[in-house]
Structure formats: C-alpha cells, structure tokens
Amino acid sequence: MRIAILQFPGSNCDDDAMHVLTRVLTESASFVWHKQSRLPDATDAVIVPGGFSYGDYLRSGAMAAHSPIMDAVRSFAADGGPVLGICNGFQILCEAGLLPGALARNASLHFECRQVNVRVEGKPTPFTSAIPAGRVLRMPIAHGDGRYVHDDADGLGKQGQVVFRYCDAAGGIKDDANPNGSQLNIAGVSNPAGNVVALMPHPERASEALLGEEGGRQIFESLRMSLGQGAGSARRG
C-alpha cells in the first residue's frame, strides 16, 4: 500500500508513523507537506499523525485544519479513501469537520502519558475490519486535549460511529478506565461512511515487541488487509 503521511509545522509523530509503516510493516509511505494542495498520485490511504501542529495554540488542530493539504484530504475522503487520524490528527480531523464532535481539555487538566486499554467496536472500518469486535488493545496515550465531546454521543454509538472506547483490561467500560473524561469513554470515532477514523491513543507506539506493546499494529494490518481486498481502490474512478 502507498500511504501519505501529512506533515504540519509542529507535527512530531510523523517520523514514528513513517517508521512503523515502512520498517515494521514494510509498506511504502511518503510525507506530504501541509503547503501542498494535492496528495501523491495513487495514494491508498492518508495518515494524519500526532504532535503539536501550530504548537496547539488557540485550540489543538484548529490552524492545521485550514492547511491547503486538507482540501485534498477532504476530497480523498469524500471519494471513500481511508483516512486515519492519531491524537493531534484526531483533533485536526474534527476541526476540519471530517469527523463529528470535538476534543476538549482533559478533565484532569493535566497532560496524560500512559498506557490505556481500548475496546474495538462500531461498524467495520478499513482500520478495524480485521480486528474482532470487543477485542481489547493496549496502547499509550499522550495528550492534554483528549476529552471527546459530542452533543449526541449516544446516537453516535447507535450509528456505529464509535470505534474505540477506553476500557479496563477485561474490556469493561468503567469510569476509572477513562483517562481524560471523554463522554461514554469514547477514544475514537469514524465518519458516517466509516472510511475516516481517528483515535487519541497512539497505535504506532504499540507496534513493536521491543517497545513493550504490540496491539496497535493490528490497526495498520487491518488497513493492509482491507486495501488488499480492494476496498481502498474503490474510490478511484
């Protein structure tokens, strides 16, 4: 697969996404600078990586959402192309209106960096279709603004757009498993079509045994499988 990894000023997990895609999954990937107005030809999927685009000034993701490249991402997504947002990428996609809801300051008012568990659920997406519903993945979070807010969080879940929820090791959706005060423990959501997905935890930090956890790699492997089945190329006409 050919992955486009966006780079905004202040992105700092761009290299990490590149490493996991090219060195761990041995796929091909390239960086795309925010000032560009189009994605490389034959892009199969877009990753909006984590970091502090524009220093997280004003609101996390607010300024990056207006970058020239985001118009290209918008039309790529409208054609059904798979887009994955990680952490700051989640914030950017919400700010850009590609995903519902918003990410507010953590309820603890602190930056939180630690391992969490998330449960995979919702409708199938290119990033989760190979992961059985209900499976618990262990991955780290590292964010200050990760409290998911939506004015109809319940409805969102009913439509299958809640893709990841913070849970305990056994998959229980508990208050004390919620690291940031997100509504209904929501850790990740999708758009109605399911091709745009984002989450606050960092799957790229949980993709190698040497770094401790490997659960996150399933998200990238899932993408590879769904692209292999032609789901990713359906959008191109």
Partner: protein, 746 residues
C-alpha cells in the same frame, strides 16, 4: 527607530552593572579608552559568573575530560562521545534555577528550550530529555505551586517539540525553599563526521540570524540573575520574563537540521542562549580567531525603540546565529522560508579578531573578541564550614529508635515521603514515548534505556540517568560527590548499560563565601576521583552559583547525569519482581551507616551524621557483575539500594510494576543493627531476582567477581515479609508509595 543617547560609562555605572572596580580597570586597559555603553554591556555579560565561570574555572580544570570515547569535551555547546557505527551522542545539562523560581512554568519551559538548542546546534537530533528538580518542603506554601508550574512547563515545552522526557529526579529539602533547582538534560544523536561547532570561520562569510524576533526579554537575565543572589532589590532588577515558544523551537530544530544537511552551506552555528547575541557572536569569533562586523539595524525585532545595548543583551528565546558560506545566502533563506522563520543576514566574518557592532549608522562597539570570551579567573578563598563537625558527630543509632513492632509503620512513612514516593504524578505529564525510542521509561528501572538504530537497521541502546544526594554532599562534599558518580554508574549497570561519560550541573551557593568555595572544590575533587576510577570522563556541564536567598545557601548539589550503552537493548533489566518463586539476593556489603539517610530525614527531621563511605573497588566489582548478569540474561530484576535502603528497595521491587508481587525475605546475616539493615544507605548494593534454575550460575559469577552475594529469600505471596518485624500487605505498600507524592502536594 530612535533610541535614547547612550549614558556615559563611569566606574559607578560599571558597579551598577556588576563590574567590580578591578574588573572595570581591566576593561579600560583592554580597550585603552572609556567604553561605550554598549561595550560595557558586552563586558558585563561576558564577564558575569554565568558566562565566564570566573570562580569555578581553576577547579573545573581538575576534572578528567578525555578518554577513548570522547570526541568533544567541555568547551563546545555540548559534549560529544563516540557510540560506534559512525554515530555520536551529544549531551549536556543546564540549570534554570532562578528564572523558574520567579515564574515556574516559563522558567522551566525555557530551560528545556535552551538545552535542546545547545544540543541541536551541534548537528544532533535530540532524542531524550531528563530533568532534575529540587524544591522546598511540600508543606511550604509556595511548593505545590512551584512543583505544578515547573512540571507542566517542562512537559509543555518538551512534549510540544516532540522530545521524550525519559527520566529524572525530584527531591525536597528545606534548603531549597527560597531557591529551587531546575536542571534540564538533553541527549541527541549525530553522525560523527557531521558535527557542527560554534565557529565564525572563513573571513568574508555571512552571519545569519534566524528564529524568533528580538524583544526586551530577560535583559540581564541569565547573566545577572544567575550571578547574584536573590534579595529584595532583585524585584526591581527583575527582567522581562522570557516566554518559551516550543512551536518556534520545533521549527528552529527542523530548519537547523535541514540547513546542516546541505553540504558546505553552514560553516558554524550557535544558539543564542545566556547573553543572547553577545555571547553567541563573541564566542564564535573567539573560537575561530576571527572578528565579526554586525549591523544591528538588520536584526529582526519585536518591539520598536530598542537600543543597541538592549539588542545585544536580549535573551529572547528560540534564536540561532550561523555563519553561511559566502555566496550561498539565498539557499539558506529558501530553507528558512519553508519553515516560516524570520531570518536576516546581519554581518560578516572579518580577520580583525574584533567584535564590531553598528547601530543607526554609528559604530557602537569595537572590542577584541579574545579577552571578552576568555573572561576572568579568580581563586576565591575557601574554608570548611564550622558547623560540619557538630553535624557529622551525630550518631543516628544513638537517637530514639522505633520499637520492632513500629518498623513496618516506619517503612510506610518513608515510602510515602516525598523523596521516596513514586514520581508517576510527575512523569505522567511528560510524553516519555514520542520518537519510538523508549525501551525502558521512567519508573521502570534505575536508568532509562532508549534505542538507537544502527545503519544496518539493528538496534543498540543508550542508558540515561541523573541523580545526586545533596544531603550526603552537605555532610561531606567530597564523599557525597563520589557517591553521586557511583550511584549514577550503578543505576546504569543494574539496568545492563555500561557507563560511558558524564555531564554535570554544579548547583552551589554564593562563591563569595569561603564555605561555598570549599564545598565546590571538594565536590570537584570527588567527581574527579570517582570519574577517573570508573573511567567515565566529564564531557560537558554547567555551574550555577548564587543559589541562596537572604544569605541562606542551598546544600551543595552537584547534579550528575551519566550516559551508558547496551549492545542489545532487549537485554535491559528492570527493577520490579516479575513473578512468584524467583530467588532474591543482595549484592554488595552491609554496614551500620545511617548518616544522611531518608530515615533520619523523615523520622528525625535531620540531615546529619556521617556520609556513607564508598569503597570504589567493591563498587566496580558489583557493577561489573551486574553488567555480566544482564548480558547473560540471568536476571529477572535488579534495583540498586538508595534512599530508604533495603526496605524501600524491596518494597519498590514488589509494587513498582503493573502487577504486584510479594516476597518473603530474611535480612542479611551481617552483624549490623536491624535499623541499619533496613534503612541504611551504604552504597554498592543491588537487590536482584532470578529464576531458581539460574542460582548456581549467578552465585558462581558473583564469587568470581568478588562482589559479595547473599540469598535473602523468594518472591511470592501477597505481602512483603522482610526480616522478623516487617510484614506488610502489598496493597498497603502500594498505596503509601503511589499516592504519597500527590497527597503531599495537596
């Protein structure tokens, strides 16, 4: 741009700027005329304690600074050691004590920013940060505010730039109530053949300013604040607080590395740190034996009406000065434009060896670079503090002792005390994983381990640690400094990393007091002896004097950070017990020493007694053994004994992991009182656990190493039993240790 005419420079004006009359006369004889006001500013800042190391230099030269791995020792922006495969590790530690006391968030944040620039200015990509913090007692009304501000400032800056903070150290003592310590460390990786130095080489080359615009921030900041003690008048002298902009720093980092990647484009580069444009231009000129000619009207500015003096002394953050190969200026500008950074060519390199500054079409400074950069050198009087005899005469075992049935409660009290309790509250606020390098992160082992990719795609590891027990140094600065070096090295060794080199941050009170200078000289002697014995040269460092408020100095705090290596990072050893049925053993030798211990601090409220003695030979044997056992993968866990002694180490091994594991342990056989067995802090001891199948191999290795080993018992059960009188459920231990820190800070 109209600036007020410059005041005339007299001795009185010189005194008001911190120059003694002797120093003033020296300046006159160098210039052979009365300086301009701008020139006075240059002398004042370059000759400040902070920039010139005038009180410390004659002692610092006693440190061992060379070795087979040293590529660049002290004198450059950071130290550089060879880590094989054509790669080097570039690292340094810096203090930002005073600014952090004035404004904890911004002070700590800009401290991190400054040390990051020191490292990437040499062509290295920063891959790990550490921080060492000292505060007044938690009960002091300002402490919680300072802790919260400093910690979120460090996180706010490092997290945003995207450099993981992988470890550190926090401690509390009354001596820091009016003078906190914030020491920040950065390590970066570069190619050995692509190291950049701060040299204004090549007459005719262009001087490039890039990064943030210049404002009135921190004028006299580092140079004055770090060079004179705090008193009421510092309120007026207080400069505009420097505000950190990590976003601009991240752009600066990427742009600098991109500029450096273009062959031959940059000739030299240096960040604008303390004393801003002054120190960067003067030092770059002096190192190359050249001069510079700069026009300040070309400097990008944030505020109107700044004088030449102000522009030269501004400590606005996130700025760099580079020398660009003549004729290639547009190439450099194109890269900086990509990163949306301000940039301007502000002058040229000359062959005059003089620093020439123009402003408003006028010559405002013309001084020889060398004597400015060379600075001053004082041999200040030294005297052993008179109260030391009484303090060290205290016999800890003669003080009231807990009854045997109170020993468990004593352990819990120590576990929940601020210096010993888990620091998770702190490091959870730091991104310690970004960049995918963190193999062993904060809270997992005695040292952090980060991985570095070899050119062939395989991984090697670097171990990082920072520590200093200032109580030990207060009671005996020589022995305390030796212990600090030994403990850092031991922390690396128990994690499986061979110690390589040291950077330090020497935090002391006023050098104008003979007691301080005695402490300083003793500490340097201790560092030098221990580093020589352990083969770990000092490759960079920083001195912070005047850490005192209203005549009360801090305990001497020679903070030490050490870097080690491990060929295969998968072999790193962590501290927590891994499961039931493992054998637990103690390496080293027991003593009855309790001086300077956490037990004395927590239970008796005293920093007193004799600092434990270091047997450097035993230390080397124990460390060598740890390295061997780790390399042969014979260990399940290893944790050195430090604050709180055996009892705290055992408790941490039980509860520090994500799963708690109990243990049933005897105390060592030594003829030593139980209190010292439990809480004594003699060095060179390590608590290890291993699978029963490995017992013969471990014992044989210990025997061969002559390190001393004693089997204490086995892991298992839901409590920690230690000797005859301590038996505590894991939940109780865990609660005390995990919640102690946050609870104390309210």
């Amino acid at each position: 741009m109209s600036a007020a005419p410059e005041p005339e420079v007299t001795r009185a004006v010189g005194r008001a700027h911190g120059l003694t009359d002797d120093e003033f006369d020296r300046m006159l004889s160098i210039l052979e005329r009365t300086p301009t006001f701008t020139e006075l500013g240059l002398f004042m800042s370059m000759w400040s304690e902070h920039c010139s190391y005038k009180s410390s230099r004659i002692h610092l030269r006693n440190l061992p600074t060379t070795g087979p791995r040293v590529v660049h020792g002290p004198g450059e922006n950071a130290g550089v050691i060879d880590i094989g495969d054509g790669q080097v590790a570039v690292f340094k530690m810096e203090s930002h004590n005073h600014p952090s006391f004035v404004e904890p968030y911004q002070g700590a944040a800009t401290g991190v920013g400054g040390i990051l620039r020191d490292v990437f200015t040499m062509g290295a990509r920063p891959i790990a940060n550490l921080n060492a913090l000292r505060f007044g007692p938690p009960s002091h009304p300002r402490t919680p505010y300072l802790v919260a501000g400093v910690v979120s400032g460090i996180g706010g800056y490092g997290n945003s730039v995207g450099v993981p903070t992988v470890g550190g150290n926090v401690a509390f003592d009354a001596c820091y109530a009016g003078n906190i310590l914030v020491n920040a460390f950065t390590l970066g990786i570069a190619q050995k053949d692509r190291i950049f130095l701060g040299r204004a080489a090549g007459v005719g080359n262009s001087i490039l300013y890039f990064g943030a615009k210049t404002g009135r921030d921190g004028i006299h900041g580092a140079s004055l604040l770090a060079s004179a003690e705090f008193d009421d008048s510092s309120e007026e002298k207080r400069p505009t607080v420097q505000v950190g902009d990590p976003f601009t720093e991240k752009l600066l980092l990427e742009a600098s590395l991109e500029l450096m990647a273009v062959p031959g484009l940059l000739v030299g580069i240096q960040d604008m740190g303390a004393a801003g444009l002054t120190s960067s231009s003067v030092e770059m000129a002096a190192r190359a034996g050249n001069g510079v000619d700069m026009d300040l009207d070309l400097v990008p500015r944030r505020e109107p009406g700044m004088s030449a003096y102000e522009v030269m002394l501004s400590e606005s953050q996130e700025r760099m000065l580079a020398v660009v190969e003549k004729g290639r200026e547009p190439e450099a500008l194109r890269i900086l434009e990509k990163w949306d950074l301000d940039a301007a060519f502000i002058g040229t390199v000359t062959n005059t060896a003089r620093v020439v500054i123009r402003s408003n079409g006028k010559l405002v400074a013309d001084v020889p670079a060398d004597p400015l950069a060379e600075g001053l050198k004082y041999d200040r009087p030294r005297a052993r503090p008179t109260d030391l005899d009484a303090l060290t005469a205290v016999d800890p075992l003669a003080l009231a002792q807990p009854r045997p049935d109170e020993l468990g409660a004593t352990l819990l009290k120590i576990l929940a005390s601020p210096n010993v309790a888990s620091k998770e509250w702190v490091y959870r606020q730091y991104d310690h994983m970004v960049r995918l390098g963190t193999v062993v992160g904060p809270g997992e082992a005695d040292a952090a381990v980060i991985r570095v990719q070899r050119p062939d795609g395989t991984w090697k590891g670097l171990g990082l640690v920072v520590d200093c027990n200032a109580g030990f140094c207060y009671l005996d600065p020589y022995e305390g400094a030796r212990l600090a070096i030994a403990e850092n090295a031991r922390n690396l060794a128990v994690t499986g990393c061979k110690p390589l080199a040291v950077t330090d941050c020497l935090n002391f009170a006023s050098p104008e007091r003979p007691e301080t200078m005695w402490q300083f000289a003793e500490a340097i002697r201790g560092i030098a002896d221990a580093c020589t014995a352990l083969g770990t040269p000092v490759v960079s460092g920083n001195v912070s004097f005047y850490n005192e408020t209203e005549g009360k100095g801090i305990h001497p705090t020679p903070m030490v950070a050490m870097v080690g290596e491990i060929a295969d990072p998968a072999k790193a050893v962590t501290q927590n017990f891994k499961g039931e049925g493992d054998v637990v053993a103690l390496l080293g030798r027991q003593t009855d020493e309790l001086g300077g211990s956490e037990y004395l601090k927590v239970i008796h409220g005293q920093v007193a007694g004799k600092t434990p003695r270091l047997d450097i030979d035993l230390e080397k044997r124990v460390q060598g053994l740890c390295l061997e056992l780790a390399d042969r993968r014979l260990l399940r866990s290893a944790h050195d004994l430090s604050e709180g002694g055996l009892a705290v180490a055992a408790a941490e091994c039980c509860v520090a992991g994500s799963l708690s594991v109990g243990a049933v342990l005897e105390l060592p056989q030594a003829a030593v009182p139980e209190l010292a067995q439990l809480f004594g802090e003699a060095p060179s001891r390590v608590l290890i656990s291993f699978a029963p199948a490995n017992q013969a191999a471990v014992a044989a290795a210990a025997e061969a190493a002559g390190a001393g080993i004693e089997l204490l018992g086995r892991t298992g059960g839901r409590s920690l039993r230690l000797g005859r009188h301590v038996d505590l459920p894991l939940e109780t231990l865990s609660h005390a240790w995990r919640t102690g820190f946050a609870a104390l800070l309210g």
